[in-house]
Amino acid sequence: MSDKNREGKRTARERMAQERAAEQARASRNKKLIVGGTVLAVIAAAVVIGVVVQNQRSKPETPAAAPAGAIGDKNLVIPSGASNAPSTLTVYEDPRCPACGSFERTFSPTIDQLEDAGKVVVNYHIVSFIDRSLGGNGSKYGANALACAQNAGHFRDYHDVLYRNQPDETEDSFGNKQTLITLAKQVPGLDTPEFENCVNSNQFGGWVSAVQQDFDKSSYKSTPTVLLNGEPIYAKKGDEQISPENLVKWVDQANQGKPLGTPGSHGQSPAPSSTAAESNTPPSP
């Protein structure tokens, strides 16, 4: 009897201890579930909010406004030269890219002459991705200023001026809007209050972003990318190295038997008579 009683007390005590342990285990499991659930909820909320916010912030791939005379699917291309020219030169370039600067300083007199002779129309894609890797705004503001110049009918001259005055890649002087306006004074008739306002307000910022997003989705990865009638010719066309002489030769070959285009003046100054490469003239202080 007393033995039984003692045994009963022990089992009761054991049972209570077990229950308490089970209770604690349950509480700790619940706590873990709540913490884990909170963590996953915080992460899920952050990701959903992030996607929604970025979707709202991102500039559309089809720009709301494009500079006058822009052509192509979403008006992302600036044409220069006769629209009915038999050959098309497609150029992707970033205002800050040094290789583009060196390409332009070597080739722009030749390209301007080919345009003026009605042999080519040049399709410019003004991309702006150097800012991403080096920081700053020179690519974007430079591209916007080029769009402003296009809007004013002075794209070609301003484009040539910008590349002749291109700073070192790591130096973001095109990120200074005043520098872009000062350089515009080298193009007769360009520096109007309208142009300055366009540069200062980054009027074509959405268009600049759309052009870059179009480049992002293309298969081209570097600048300058230069295509003659769709075929890459920079730095080589097949085995042949590009040079002003070779460029003229390739264009003439492609144009054989085709009528030349009829270039209008479009307010641009005529090409220089010499095809000698222009020197880089940094802005005087």
């Binding site: 706590k31 884990g36 963590v39 915080v42 909320a45 990701v47 970025q54 991403r132 890797s133 992002d216």
Partner: protein, 168 residues
Amino acid sequence: MASQQADRGRAVRRAVDSPAAEWFGLAVRLGLAVVWGWAGWAKVSDPAEAAQAVRAYEILPEALVKPVGWGLPFLELALALLLVLGLGTRIVAVISAALLLVFIAGISSAWARGISIDCGCFGGGGAVDESQTKYLQEILRDSGFLLLSAWLIYRPRTKLSLDAWLAA
């Protein structure tokens, strides 16, 4: 010999469970928080740039490029926040480690396929010149962060954490 090993085992266990280890854990937790916070914040400013950094890996289909490019920085920022608070440290460390393994796999894959990109780990990203790829450094750096995550999976109890406060 066997008892010596047992002694050493006990000594290691004592060190790992000591308050000093929990302070060390705090440093690891905040260190990883800074990494995620910095990585996330750097990818927020330009959505198009973030999308392009993802696209450049040429792994995901175009339909997923933007959601991943836009959502990933906020995932990283959420991990940073949770690490600062010290809430659910072990789960957060497991997710961190998984994410880092995905990043290391992505970078290795780009390297193996011979495409030239910046990893875009801390903003930037996209195609770069072949001479400017830094795949080995990027993988070693992420492996270092992986070690931080591994420590927190192993010892999630750290000083000044919500977890410790909730457990008390």
